[in-house]
């Protein structure tokens, strides 16, 4: 269970996340939508404890992210926006480092490494330095790092950004599969992804909750006919028109 309770984050004058509350249970894939600058990344940083909230709280399986950061983070896998990684490390070294910090036992480490490498098609680049990877492989290495410890909850900031259509399909399948017993939050600008992987969608604009509904419910708001993805698109634009800012 990941919970946001009146989560608020200010940067000086700007309120990037404004009194946001929601809860996501295992088995759910929450699609986090909103125009550029809506506060998606900031919310994810609050959920993972990279940023401290100005007020309100975030909980991961009951652990307050501020007061019990270690327990909260141990239960989480996180792909930060842009999939940052140490450029001079190879993919294998990156995964070994994360496994060590997370205290995955050496025997389990092999099994998990093989699993994520297989699922994300990382075998061909396993011993390449991250600085030499294409955008898609870098993103996949970031996903591998987040999934390595088989976490109970995943927070993924634009996980399919930069992937080719085949890999997008693969990663969506992977997310659906993992969703069976995990809590997953993904942010995305690709609205067809909402229909493809999410059981629920939250739209925020200007840091505030605009809508919390199923993809079908969201599509219904378009008030038009046609394919679900197109209707989600129309509903998104209607709900967030004029809300985009820096």
């Amino acid at each position: 269970m990941i919970e946001a309770r009146s989560l608020t984050r200010r940067f000086g004058e700007l309120t990037a996340v404004d009194d946001l509350s929601f809860a996501v249970a295992p088995g759910e894939v929450l699609g986090f939508l909103g125009p550029n600058g809506a506060g998606k990344t900031t919310t994810m940083r609050l959920l993972t404890g990279f940023l401290a909230p100005s007020s309100g709280e975030a909980r991961v399986f009951g652990h307050d992210v501020e007061r019990a950061p270690r327990q909260a983070r141990a239960a989480l896998g996180y792909l930060p926006e842009g999939a940052p990684a140490w450029e001079e490390m190879t993919v294998r070294e990156l995964l070994a480092f994360v496994a060590r910090v997370r205290g995955i036992a050496p025997a389990a480490r092999r099994v998990r490494l093989d699993h994520v490498v297989e699922r994300l098609g990382l075998a061909p680049v396993l011993d390449r330095r991250i600085e030499t990877l294409s955008k898609g492989f870098r993103r996949r290495a970031g996903l591998a790092q987040a999934m390595l410890h088989d976490p109970a909850a995943l927070v993924l900031d634009e996980p399919t950004d930069g992937l080719d259509p085949n890999q997008k399909h693969e990663v969506r399948g992977l997310i659906r599969e993992m969703a069976r017993d995990k809590v997953i939050i993904v942010s995305t600008h690709i609205l067809e992804e909402v229909e493809a992987v999410c059981t629920r969608a939250i739209i925020i604009a200007g840091g505030r909750l605009v809508l919390d509904d199923t993809p079908q419910g969201l599509a219904a708001r378009a008030g038009t006919d046609g394919p679900t993805a197109a209707r989600i698109d129309a509903a998104f634009r209607a709900l967030t028109a004029g809300a985009g800012h820096a």
């Binding site: 940083r45 993972t48 404890g49 990279f50 940023l51 401290a52 100005s54 950061p69 270690r70 327990q71 983070r73 141990a74 989480l76 996180y78 930060p80 842009g82 940052p84 990684a85 140490w86 450029e87 001079e88 490390m89 070294e93 480092f97 994360v98 060590r100 910090v101 997370r102 205290g103 330095r129 790092q145």
Partner: protein
């Protein structure tokens, strides 16, 4: 502990993944050997000891150690890996300790590689090897002090250049506080207790005491405390950054 060891290992390996290590080590070794010969008249003094060699260490570290330290946090912040590191299940203190120890070991390696100097003086005469060992220990501790300062200032900015300049400035202040010229100027008008307090703040005063071969607990404690304080400050700066 596991977390500190993992961070240590990653950071230490990172030095050798790029030409950075080779460049740093060569420059350090060339300067460490050249300064005593060129400026310190190492040979002409005709003494078989390393006093002139160690006398240059504070000034060598003043410029060298901030160059190692400036990358510590500024680079992680700029490249976004800070977000990856600090959202892993480890405390800020553990991350600070792991990165500091890796950098300190790296500087320690540079210092260790000056051993031919030690062999040379043993070849030339009969130096007090106990005193030399003490001076090496003092030098290593002092390097840790410079490094801890650099770590804190690197955490405070995302620009490595700013981190470097600030670290050199703070280091210079701490050295000058114990320099003869400064203390003499101070003595002209200030009461003795003030002169002593200023001198007691300086890296120079404590290092020179150790370099003379006198391992006084107070001098060791001074460096250990300096390191601990600046590392604590590093963790505070990083944690404060989360709410700003």
């Amino acid at each position: 502990m596991r977390e500190v060891a993992a961070v240590f290992r990653r950071d230490f390996a990172a030095y050798f993944a790029t030409p950075v290590a080779a460049v740093f080590l060569s420059v350090f070794l060339v300067l460490a050997a050249a300064l005593p010969f060129q400026l310190g008249r190492f040979y002409e003094l005709g003494q078989a000891d390393l006093a002139t060699f160690f006398a240059f260490h504070p000034w060598l570290y003043l410029f060298f150690v901030p160059a190692v330290a400036m990358r510590l946090w500024a680079e992680e912040r700029k490249s976004g890996t800070l977000e990856l590191l600090l959202t892993l299940p480890l405390s800020t203190a553990q991350a600070v300790a792991g990165k500091f120890l890796a950098a300190w070991t790296f500087v320690g390696l540079a210092l260790t590689l000056t051993f031919p100097m030690w062999i040379t003086v043993n070849y030339l005469g009969e130096p007090d090897n106990g005193a030399i060992l003490a001076a090496y220990a003092g030098s290593f501790l002092m390097a840790g002090g410079f490094l801890a300062i650099g770590s804190c200032l690197s955490a405070a900015t995302r620009s490595q250049v700013v981190a470097y300049v600030l670290s050199v400035a703070v280091g210079l202040l701490l050295l000058l506080a114990g320099h003869d010229l400064v203390l003499a100027a101070l003595r002209a008008w200030a009461p003795a207790w003030l002169v002593d307090s200023v001198a007691a703040l300086s890296f120079l005063t404590h290092f020179q005491a150790i370099a003379r071969g006198v391992l006084d607990l107070a001098d060791l404690l001074y460096f250990v405390l300096t390191i601990a304080l600046w590392l604590a400050a590093t963790a505070i700066v990083l944690d404060r950054g989360r709410s700003r």
